[in-house]
C-alpha cells in the first residue's frame, strides 16, 4: 500500500472531529476463492490506537465485521488546533500501519 491512511482533523467548537480512511483489504476469513474453492485467509486490522499529543484517547479492538478500507471517525473533547493526532493499527498478521495529522 502506498499510504496506509489519510487523516483529517478539524476543530468543531471545542471538540476535535477526527476522520481517518485506512487502506486495508480486511478479509474476513470466511470468503472462498472463486477459482480454487478454498477459504481466503483472514487478514484484517484487529487493533487501533489513537493518541493526542502522545496520550491515548482511543483504543479499539476490531473484528472481521469491519469493512474493507475502514473509515473511522471520532471526536475528542479538550483538544485544540495544532495538537497532533497519531493513529496506529495492527492487523492479525502483525503488520502495522500508522498515520498522523495536526488538528486544523
Amino acid at each position: 500500500m502506498a499510504e496506509g491512511m489519510k487523516i483529517r482533523a478539524t476543530m468543531q467548537g471545542d471538540v476535535a472531529d477526527v476522520k481517518a480512511l485506512m487502506n486495508h483489504i480486511m478479509e474476513t476469513g470466511l470468503r472462498k476463492d472463486a477459482n480454487t474453492g478454498k477459504l481466503i485467509p483472514a487478514y484484517f486490522i484487529n487493533h487501533v490506537v489513537a493518541t493526542l499529543n502522545g496520550k491515548t484517547v482511543l483504543d479499539a479492538q476490531w473484528g472481521a465485521a469491519i469493512a474493507k478500507n475502514p473509515f473511522l471517525g471520532f471526536k475528542i473533547k479538550g483538544a485544540k488546533a495544532g495538537d497532533k493526532i497519531v493513529i496506529n493499527t495492527v492487523d492479525n498478521k502483525g503488520e502495522k500501519m500508522s498515520g498522523e495529522a495536526a488538528i486544523a
Binding site: A2, K6, R8, K19, L21, N23, N69, F71
Partner: protein, 275 residues
C-alpha cells in the same frame, strides 16, 4: 431610403427571430421554465444535487460525507495515472490547455475538422494515441478513475458546451431524440421520469431534474462504486428493461452531448458521492 432601411431591418429581425424559434438555447430555456414551475423552491445552482436538493436531511448527510468521502484513495489512483510520464517523457497535461485545469466544462464538443463528437474520455484516449501509448478501454476502471481525477481539476467551472454548426446541431438533435423516445418493456423515455415526473417517487427514489445531471460524473455509488455517465445510461436502460448500448457508442455520445448542453451554466464537481 429610410423606409427601405426600416423594411430591411424588420426583415432581418423577423429572420433572426424565426431562426431562434427552435434550437438548443430555446430547448434549454423551455426546460428551465418547466422545472421552475415543478420545483419552485430549488435554486439554479442546486440542480446539480439532483434529488438531494429535494430532501434536506439527505442533503445534510451528503454534505457530511463529502467532507471526507470514501473515494479519496480511488481518485488518488486516477491522479497517479495522470501524473505518470509516458514512455516518451511527456504527460497527459501536455495534451490539454492549462495543463488540464478548467477544461472539462467544454466537453463534449463537435470537432468540425474531424467531423465527429469528442467526449472527454475520447480526448484522454486521443492523448494516449498521440503519444504512442495504448488507449484505455471505454468503461474500464482505469479510464473511469483517470477521468474522475482529471475532471476534478475543473471543479467549479461552469458547464459550457457549444452546439455550433449544422453537424453539431445534428448530433445534438440525435441525442435529444434518444432522450425523448420511449423504449424497453416498461416503455419509458428518459423524459418520462426526469421531466414528466420530476420530484415524484418511483418506489423509494425521487426523480431528479435533467438539468444539472451531467455536471458531476463520474460519481461513486455507495461511496466506492465508480460509475461513469455512460454506465448510468446503461443502468437506466436496464432498469426500464431496454437493451443497454455500448460505451462510447454514437447514441450514448450524442445523448451525453445533449444532456451536458442542458446543464450549461451549472458548476461542475467531480467526483461526488451518491447512495
Amino acid at each position: 431610403m429610410r423606409r427601405r432601411l426600416t423594411v430591411f431591418l424588420a426583415c432581418l429581425f423577423l429572420w433572426g427571430s424565426l431562426a431562434a424559434v427552435a434550437g438548443p438555447a430555446e430547448d434549454r430555456k423551455a426546460l428551465l421554465e418547466h422545472y421552475k414551475q415543478r420545483l419552485p423552491d430549488v435554486k439554479f445552482e442546486d440542480y446539480v444535487l439532483g434529488a438531494l436538493a429535494l430532501n434536506r436531511d439527505a442533503r445534510d448527510q451528503y454534505e457530511s460525507i463529502m467532507t471526507f468521502p470514501p473515494f479519496v484513495n480511488d481518485v488518488d489512483d486516477g491522479r497517479k495515472t495522470w501524473e505518470k510520464p509516458f514512455k516518451n517523457g511527456k504527460t497527459f497535461a501536455s495534451c490539454f490547455a492549462g495543463g488540464g485545469k478548467n477544461v472539462a466544462g467544454r466537453y463534449p464538443y463537435f470537432d468540425n475538422g474531424e467531423g465527429r463528437l469528442i467526449t472527454f474520455e475520447n480526448a484522454l484516449n486521443a492523448c494516449l494515441r498521440r503519444n504512442d501509448e495504448p488507449e484505455l478501454k471505454y468503461g474500464s476502471n482505469a479510464l473511469g478513475l483517470l477521468s474522475a481525477y482529471v475532471k476534478s481539476l475543473s471543479d467549479g467551472m461552469k458547464v459550457q458546451v457549444k452546439v455550433e454548426g449544422a453537424a453539431a446541431l445534428a448530433a445534438y438533435e440525435k441525442g435529444k431524440a434518444y432522450y425523448y423516445t420511449r423504449r424497453g418493456q416498461l416503455n419509458f423515455s428518459c423524459a418520462s421520469c426526469h421531466i414528466d415526473n420530476v420530484g415524484n417517487f418511483i418506489r423509494s427514489e425521487q426523480m431528479s431534474p435533467m438539468i444539472g445531471q451531467a455536471a458531476h460524473w463520474p460519481e461513486f455509488r455507495a461511496g466506492t462504486e465508480l460509475t461513469t455517465l455512460q454506465k448510468r445510461f446503461q443502468q437506466c436502460n436496464s432498469q426500464t428493461r431496454a437493451v443497454p448500448l455500448e460505451y462510447n457508442s454514437e447514441e450514448y455520445n450524442n445523448l451525453e452531448y445533449f444532456l451536458t448542453y442542458m446543464s450549461n451554466g451549472l458548476p461542475m464537481q467531480t467526483p461526488v458521492f451518491r447512495k
